[in-house]
Symmetry: C3
Subunit: 180 residues, 3 copies
């Protein structure tokens, strides 16, 4: 897309930029649905909950699972592929950044980010390039995830470290079922 | 409020969205005063200093003490009650989030946040649900406050921990008196 | 500048607010060039790469070296002088805050921030008042820099601490040469 086209797209999106839920056949959300489709992301469901002021660096390179809730003010720096599983829940200010630079000469590179099912990120979480997060994971607020995260764990801190295991995680997240 | 009403309110606010000080009888700040009143917050003073791009999740559930200064780009996720004391001072990018989720099934809940008098938050501070911060507290930049904070202390880090006691805190914050 | 003038300037900037590169004789970027000039910053080169939604607290007090890339959503709280060297590279959400407050009475003060050459800041880095960062430094994502940083080091964390030395840093950052 040319720069003017992107700018127009952003302006159109701004007109509908409040907390919203995309569901089929709801005309009031058509503007943002149009916006997301223009960005050519992959959706494994007709529904997604997206907060306000969510930023996507570029087109493509993002795959959303079913029943995903993305908090307001989140940023997707999708230089490389970002894959998000089912029942993903993020509070506001999530940053997923697939870009990085070499230490010795600052030349840029990118690596994909993969997130499993039933992952919850608290507010202001940053996930860096190359990271794979397993299923049933909780990332504490304010964390910076720099390494892979095992299934069924809570991680937190800068950089994020193992805090504890999650016991008795209910596999089906009841409150998001209506999003299907 | 309907979604369209909220959107219109935000657009009206954007028109006056620069650093401002609400004081009685100053017509130039009437637009943002109108905006704040629409949100039905409680003010214990006619004056508040509010930066640009401050975000409120919903109406009500916030009580501001006297002489409060809220930095730009701050966010109030007021699912539950947020109570702020007198002489509160926050740099930009404050996040107060009263919402959270259960670890075992991600069902949502909320808890109130209470902040005492003469509290200063550095830039980019996050305060999580259920937290009570005492009087004369300083929260270091970039901190995530997950537990209660005692009177007269400096805390910092992710999660925020005790750093030191504040000695000889002057009870009256001179430079904010003109805000009365 | 009066408040209305600042508001108009911000609205004009919004019209051109997408990732851009200022280069001489490129008419399409004239709007943001005009905006930056109005802010009376010092440029040691005709070129700068600036992301979207970059915020400057006030006019003046910023000096950019050659081949600087400032990520989107960055904030410059330039109460005091901010000096940035050559080949500076920042991901999004950089915060440089030259303002602070005394612990005992919260009276405000400011101190300058100085950044050397070939410094890279990851996403969501905060640099506080009074800090001097040397040459060939990398600041890890999510860090809060509260103290001076030595030449040729990687620092990270909240607050930022020494992580390791950078070996064999290539002095000339090839990929930015075209920005000259």
């Amino acid at each position: 897309m040319g720069k003017l086209k992107i700018l127009l797209l952003h302006l159109i999106n701004k007109l509908a930029d409040f907390d919203f839920l995309i569901r089929p056949n709801q005309s009031r959300f058509k503007i943002r649905e149009f916006y997301l489709k223009k960005y050519k992301f992959t959706f494994h469901s007709a529904s997604i909950r997206l907060g306000i002021n969510v930023y996507f660096k570029q087109k493509g390179n993002i795959s959303f699972g079913r029943r995903c809730c993305i908090g307001s003010f989140s940023q997707f720096w999708n230089y490389d592929k970002i894959t998000i599983g089912d029942d993903f829940l993020s509070a506001g200010n999530l940053i997923i950044n697939t870009g990085s630079h070499e230490l010795h000469d600052l030349s840029p590179y990118s690596k994909k980010v993969t997130i499993g099912n039933r992952v919850w990120c608290g507010t202001n979480v940053t996930i860096l390039c190359g990271v794979t997060i397993g299923d049933d994971v909780v990332v504490a607020a304010g964390s910076v995830v720099t390494k892979n995260v095992e299934n069924g764990t809570v991680v937190g801190g800068v950089p994020a470290k193992f805090i504890k295991r999650i016991e008795n995680r209910t596999k089906v997240i009841k409150q998001f079922e209506w999003l299907d």
